[in-house]
Symmetry: C2
Subunit: 159 residues, 2 copies
DNA sequence: ACCCTATCTGCATCTCATGCGAACACGCAA
DNA sequence: TTGCGTGTTCGCATGAGATGCAGATAGGGT
């Protein structure tokens, strides 16, 4: 998403108001690569603005998302994750700590896809699920691979 | 997942009991390519077995999933979808009617992925979001493409 | 400074899913 | 076939995450 200053202008130009709550969220989201949840943002916002409502956080996130400034992902593990990085990229999620990291996939457009006949596609997401480095070494019960960077385990890269 | 008969044997061999409720769900799920929700299965089951509990449906689905006979997907639009097809395949979801269809992706293992350093991957999902054929023609407001089978619209295939 | 209207906030409501315990019944054993 | 022990079923309570709603509040143009 754009910078807090640019967003403020954009909001005003759209007839939307630039409130302190919104400005705070602009700042908290800008360059935020943690893929925060609404609750996490609420917690962070509450530190700087005690009394801010969780409802307002949700509202603002929804607004930014429908404006295309923010992306929302549901990885099926818990609450939705928000991402100010609206560029083309994908994700990897740790099944243990639920951390999310960006993944860049090259050659995705060369895929040979069967089954999309009749569909008009507007979004394609690739999500890798696994264990992050920290969680791998910690709960390493079976003496599995501490550091393997390429897919493989059981399933190949993909398939 | 395996056939109702095979599942019955597998259950008994594991010390699990083969109840009429479970057998019914085995049948309802076998070769079911609709990616049903727990509620849909509950409705279907209720026709043949009035009084069956939604709780039992959830319980059985969870059991089958942890046994690897069933897969569970959360596409972020509503309730979880269950899939007896545990083979390697991916999905396309209609953002309007929420229908889910199977998609087979070739060459997925040739992808050049950056960002998985340190992760141990055990599952990779590709999900396409868009409009199915029926929904495309219906709410075709802007005169968009009635039938385009390859990604493209706005965003490239993937990226 | 004033007013109109968008926003904020607190609470109710909703959906989906899981925890829990008493009643029930599968399946083995006698 | 009958009886028993343990796994299941079922109904209800509870929980998480998110949205609906309306009165109080405050942008921001005039
Ligand atoms: Mn991201
Ligand atoms: Mn499928
Ligand atoms: Zn982790
Ligand atoms: Zn559709």
């Amino acid at each position: 998403m754009r910078s807090p200053a640019e967003l403020s202008s954009a909001f005003r130009e759209s007839g939307l108001k630039v409130t302190p709550q919104r400005q705070l969220l602009f700042r908290l989201l800008h360059d935020n690569a943690t893929h925060p949840t609404a609750d996490a943002l609420f917690a962070a916002a509450s530190e700087q603005m005690p009394g801010i409502s969780l409802r307002t956080v949700y509202q603002t996130l929804t607004d930014l998302t429908s404006m295309g400034e923010l992306q929302s992902f549901d990885f099926g593990n818990g609450p939705a994750r928000f991402d100010p990085n609206v560029g083309s990229h994908h994700h990897v999620v740790c099944r243990s700590c639920n951390d999310v990291a960006d993944v860049y996939v090259a050659g995705a457009s060369d895929l040979d896809v069967a089954g999309l006949e009749g569909f008009t596609i507007d979004r394609s997401d690739i999500v890798f699920h696994g264990l992050c480095a920290r969680c791998s070494t910690t709960q390493d019960v079976t003496g599995s691979h501490p550091n393997s960077n390429i897919p493989s385990p059981t399933t190949g890269a993909m398939s």
